[in-house]
Symmetry: C2
Subunit: 241 residues, 2 copies
Amino acid sequence: MPTNGTRMAGPEIHATDPWTPGHPKKHVRHQLLSDDERAQLAKIAAIVRFEKGERIYNQGDRADAVFNIISGVVTAYRMLADGPPVMSFLYPGDLFGLTEEARYINTARATTPVIAYKMPLQSVQRILSSSASLDVQVIVKLCDELRQAQHHAVLLTQKRAVKRLAMFLELQEHLQIARNEPTSEIYLPMDRSSIADYLGITLPALSRAFRALVVKKMIATRGRHHVKVLDREAFKNIADA
Amino acid sequence: MPTNGTRMAGPEIHATDPWTPGHPKKHVRHQLLSDDERAQLAKIAAIVRFEKGERIYNQGDRADAVFNIISGVVTAYRMLADGPPVMSFLYPGDLFGLTEEARYINTARATTPVIAYKMPLQSVQRILSSSASLDVQVIVKLCDELRQAQHHAVLLTQKRAVKRLAMFLELQEHLQIARNEPTSEIYLPMDRSSIADYLGITLPALSRAFRALVVKKMIATRGRHHVKVLDREAFKNIADA
DNA sequence: GGTACTCTTTGACGGCGATCAAAAAAGAAA
DNA sequence: TTTCTTTTTTGATCGCCGTCAAAGAGTACC
């Protein structure tokens, strides 16, 4: 589940515009901002870099900025008292850094090298309150995020580990398609333990679920980060079932 | 998880104002609407009644209105291909009827007799687009809902059924407190199978989880819809763990 | 290229919950 | 009330996954 972070428009990068990382006019799913509004927001954004594994902020930290990913993958997770964290994976175009009572509600860590726009919370709020259509944009994002959260809950109600994994792989594939990335292989930037946490199962159980799909010739793995769907029909049968 | 529906301000009822069911000036958590805006919205709202068990709308129906509960409990659920539905329970003040591409994303059914405001989607959108501060109100609601969705995901990552149940009971208790209702007993208007679906376990497993808590003298049940916490410390120990 | 580390896989075992089935309790209707 | 239906509980068995432990693969660093 996306604990935080909101899917945005396009997959590519536009250096001066934190709100429309997509190609300026092509392949933009939601075109809800005027040039003027985008220009306003571009002014307050700074470009920041994080190396792989680096902490971006901690749960409970005083929130001072929201982030918008330019490139790379961010893992956001909420720590619980005992159990595994609740996680979400964020890709270019995703917004993250949502707050509750002025504090970050989760921890964000760069899963790959990450470049992102950093926008001071104060400035964002000022602009937000002076522009009604920006609000609409945010609402659209929140609805997207809500759908993802719901999808995660759907996934977690599945009882067999193989089905959770299949649903997860299908989701990743769909996200890749939405980002206009090559779709012959599914790319999984995060490590196995992150996936296990996301699926709500243990690492050994995840490993066995992978094996089960490989043995049945439904998928093939190349290294740790690449999966190819071999038997599409059988695969969809498990994932959608 | 709340598949849909958004928590709003107060617990009580104000007959002419669909957006602030709470007492006009007291105990209102979010006071984000001007009198003018509330008056605008009151004009377009109709009061509708549903009897216990009645369907309010079906998943996939063309969406023509959003609802705001005045009294009663609504269960919203999304049907899946095979598995159990993903559900949410909605109480007075909750907004529901969110859409995806002009169609309802879930099915809503009255769990108890329900009275609600029904607001034509068109009118809501028109007013929304002409009022920036209403947008903010909606954003607050979406954030609330997102938190609930996250809480549901947290619950579903728990592996033992007793813990899921304890977390659920604790959540219901908190919602009751937020609604300023008596808190000596936890009231569960929905039936066991709805709870089981929400917890992602089967009905027998839920029954055993209840029994386990009763046998350990942590809770006592009165009829099907009332639960009392006897050993608060042990109970919180399981729920928060 | 070699070494040390982390990440991942595999194995064995036990427990919890799913499943199937039937009994019991609660509610609804007559 | 009595009867019928629906909901909930209980029981028995099986399978999946959690747990603990160790071996293997991959990666980073020197």
